[in-house]
Amino acid sequence: MTPRILVRGAVIALGAAGTGLAGCARGPESSLAPHSPQAEVIAGLWWTMFWMGSATYGLVLLALLVAVVRSRKRRKPGTAPPTFLIWAGGVVLPAAVVGVLTVLSFIATREASPAGNPGRGALQIEVVGHKFWWEVRYPDEGIVTANEITIPAGRPVDLVMESADVIHSMWIPRLHGKVDMVPGRITRLQLQADEPGIYPGRCAEYCGTQHAGMAISVEALEPEAYQDWVDDRRSAVAPAAGVAVGQEVFMTTGCAECHAVEGTAARGTLGPDLTHLMSRRTLGAGRVPNNRGFLGGWVVDPQGIKPGNLMPPTALESQQLIDLLDYLETLE
């Protein structure tokens, strides 16, 4: 046997590491593509630790390689153990590395604090985790929506978070690390997007059957565009003409028991608020795109699209479904 084992092992590890790090384009949910001051700090910490860790691993491999080569060259075992090696590699080296790292970690942890820095005129948004969707409320603006958070770019936003059932975890990788939503507690996460864009994320704490299907996205808008968005949401929804039949279907076939639509008798709170349903990009918390086809499928067979979600199927005549979809499509 030769030191080939070490060489091979090292080549495999480093080769794969190099390809993985350098070769991959960053995806839309990559924590290494930071778009906020906090995510920037954390990514910076990672790259520092990556180089420190690589150097440490390299030194350990080197020591092992030298040890194996020396061992192979011997005719018979040596007489005295190289105790200096244990002190140098096992005490001094790690102590130095973690000494530096502890300080860097303290600094990064303070700078990227999820609770943020109070008193910077942060916008307050309340987010409530549900199985398996997100309720989003703007208390000052009086807006209620779901699964999409719209924020102004460049301004800190405090997410004030709680859970309606089990533990969930809010995670928008390009903007910040994750913070859990724990029943009975209020947790906070300060987000600040550097520039306008859509930042997807998902629930990071196992929360049941459809944990995998609990996505969220943050859309950052230019401040003026954000103001327009707020104004648009706050203006009363004008009842659209010609959809009274569909609205009647909505009110009588069970939809209204769980969903609310502003300005109507629908006041349900178990499911997402549908006042601005058609302005959302997806259905089922990121499960499928939001269009008439998927919407019809969702109403009739939500369990087929997202098994385990809490919405029961709705039995409708085909004309009823058409009328209902006509009505839902007016909720913009």
């Binding site: 924590s31 005719r75 075992p77 244990i86 970690s105």
Partner: protein
């Protein structure tokens, strides 16, 4: 010592003495084998059962990887997937890793410290049955359709009565708790055998490093398991009797469970890792033909690891909204493991440095352990930085990290130990060719499975998702990871093939085929039921290597009189020694085979089933059966009744 010598009966070195020893220590065979209490019988049962559960857990892991092979795969549905990862984690942690650690400790330690059996043989047998029955109860949930699905960490309120009605979590809580009883019983055995049954002369500074690692492991189990047992009972009471410890709606707090669970959960990682360090630090010096470099430093680092392991559980909770200062201190404490593990790693490197290494399969696995474990250790230090953890917590980065630590730091050393001690267990060498092939397949397969998962974590893939959409850059790394899992599974098949073949056709070996230094190699291969013809007297840290390492009376070939013959070879007698210097204190008689442990375990299992299905009468019957067995267990045999 002189006093003991005076009490000498017929010398066991004589034919008559050996015959009487063999009779006194014989284990019953056939059906009566269920009453056996010998540490080698029970230890082997633990090892074989744990390996069986390892295969089941491995199959679950394969199904998980097959489901994640490609995006939007529909091999299994969400509920099945959640059951799979729950049972995979539960099986590997509770039914494989810890019973394997304890099984190997139970088999090896009495031999290694030079005694004839564990201190409480019937408790040991009882521990095996509670482990087996706990495992069976857990897996009977597949038959009754109540498979647990709350994750191996079982966080309430997801696992509470409100959000998980049905019996699924009751199976988990009661089954796992039953297995934990076995873990605690085993820990008591191991700690006591190390502290009180070391061969005369094996003072604390001559204790094999494996004994040190198991001593710290055992104490860690004794301190860390009770909170989990209590926590599990609290959750069960919350589920069955509508208490509210962990439910916020009833005034409880879900985080209380997390504290209790991780108070156990983090030390548990070291409970699995320290024995592996002990195995590596035993095997590598033998393969390098030199004593372990830095014995005292390694022992100090093992003790330090055990102590530190209780100060870092918060690092599993960095994202729960815990105050930053607490997080930062827990993180800083976690980073100290770089030093304790650094000492252990570099002591092994220094041993190779000084030695002339034989590159047989056990050594390959130990080097594989170093290469993999150090990488997992480094990512562990990174995870101790709270800010970094906020990003990668509950992602595949963490999955990759702890598989590097647990497969690299536990499975690989255990496979190396298997190849090393197989000749002692069976009297035959394990096949080298399948050994090498198995090593390379497992080493490459392991890295192919888990290295890509680090990038999945960075790219935003959370753990415990049954599927994922295309277009997020997760396809390639998931594909590679699943390929690697198939390769890793193949390696296990190769290793099993080698084992089965070697059991029949392996080369027969003498007592000490590796030329090793510790006492177990002075016993026959496989060891006789009584282990040693006479209790050895130890005068060195490497007794079989030093000319003066053992009293000459204990050399395997030595036929003359010996100083520590048992008083009465018809009884199961062992020498108890003092805690620090291992001076002989007394001679104690151990109890022999009994069905009482089995019957008691059956009685308690009935109580458990009664608790699951609310059967009051069955509970009473089971309790009475257990009580009767307990009385029978403790009833003194005729010769003690005067």
């Amino acid at each position: 010592m002189a006093k003991l010598a005076e009490q000498t009966g017929p010398s066991p070195a004589s034919d008559e003495g050996l015959r009487r020893l063999a009779t006194a220590w014989a284990s019953p065979r056939g059906f009566a084998g269920l009453s056996a209490v010998n540490h080698k019988v029970v230890g082997t049962r633990f090892i074989v059962t744990a390996f069986f559960f390892f295969l089941i857990g491995g199959i679950q892991a394969l199904l998980i990887r097959l489901q994640l092979f490609v995006p939007e795969n529909t091999l299994v549905g969400p509920d099945t997937f959640n059951e799979l990862f729950t049972m995979h984690g539960t099986t590997m942690m509770f039914l494989f890793a810890l019973p394997m650690v304890e099984g190997i400790g139970m088999y090896l330690l009495p031999l290694m410290v030079g005694t004839r059996d564990l201190p409480f043989p019937r408790l040991n047998a009882f521990g095996y049955f509670t482990y087996l029955f706990g495992g069976i109860i857990l897996y009977s949930s597949f038959i009754t359709g109540n498979v647990p699905d709350g994750g191996w960490f079982a966080y309430p309120p997801l696992t509470g009565p409100e959000f998980r009605p049905g019996l699924n979590l009751d199976y988990w809580l009661l089954g796992v708790t039953f297995v934990e009883i076995s873990a605690v019983a085993g820990a008591i055995e191991l700690v006591v055998v190390i502290l009180k049954r070391r061969a005369p002369g094996m003072s604390i500074n001559r204790m094999p490093v494996f004994a040190w690692s198991i001593l710290v492991t055992g104490l860690t189990i004794l301190i860390s398991f009770p909170p989990l047992i209590i926590g599990s009972l609290m959750l069960e009471v919350e589920r069955k009797l509508a208490f509210s410890f962990f439910s916020a709606t009833g005034g409880g707090d879900p985080l209380l469970w997390q504290h209790l669970f991780w108070w156990f959960g983090h030390p548990d990682v070291y409970i699995l890792f320290l024995p592996a360090v002990g195995l590596a630090a035993t095997v590598v010096p033998v393969m390098a033909r030199v004593p372990l470099a830095g014995y005292s430093l390694v022992v100090a680092s093992i003790v330090g690891t055990g102590l530190l392991s209780f100060g870092v559980w918060i690092h599993h909770m960095f994202t729960t909204g815990i105050p930053l200062l607490a997080s930062s201190f827990a993180g800083a404490a976690s980073m100290l493991f770089a030093i304790t593990s650094g000492i252990q790693v570099f002591a092994l490197i220094a041993t190779v440095w000084q030695g002339k290494v034989r590159w047989a399969t056990p050594m390959l696995y130990m080097v594989g352990f170093l290469l993999i474990f150090v990488l997992g250790g480094i990512t562990g230090i990174m995870l101790a930085a709270p800010a970094f953890d906020w990003q990668v917590h509950d992602t595949y980065f963490v999955v990759a990290h702890f598989h590097y630590v647990l497969i690299g730091g536990m499975l690989f050393p255990f496979l190396g130990a298997l190849y090393f001690w197989f000749p002692k267990f069976t009297g035959r060498m394990l096949d080298e060719r399948t050994g090498r092939l198995g090593f390379w397949l497992s080493f490459l397969g392991f890295n192919l499975t888990f290295l890509p998962q680090h990038w999945l974590g960075f790219e935003g893939m959370p753990r415990r998702v049954y599927t994922y959409p295309a277009g997020l850059g997760w396809e390639l790394n998931n594909f590679l990871s699943s390929l690697g899992a198939l390769m890793l599974a193949t390696s296990i098949l190769v290793i099993m093939f080698g084992i089965v073949r070697s059991l029949r056709t392996g080369r027969l070996v003498s007592a000490n085929p590796w030329g090793a230094d510790t006492l177990e190699w002075g016993a026959d291969s496989p060891p006789a039921a009584y282990n040693f013809r006479s209790i050895p007297v130890v005068a060195s840290l490497n007794p079989l290597w030093d000319p003066e390492g053992m009293d000459p009376g204990n050399h395997p070939e030595y036929q003359g009189p010996v100083v520590t013959d048992p008083v009465d070879a018809n009884r199961r007698e062992v020498v108890t020694t003092t805690l620090v210097d291992a001076r002989p204190e007394t001679i104690e008689t151990l109890p022999g085979p009994s069905f009482a442990p089995l019957v008691m375990a059956i009685g308690l299992t009935l109580v458990l089933i009664a608790a699951l299905y609310d059967l009051a009468l069955v509970a009473v019957v089971g309790g009475l059966v257990a009580l009767a067995a307990g009385i029978n267990w403790m009833w003194p045999p005729p010769e003690y009744r005067q």
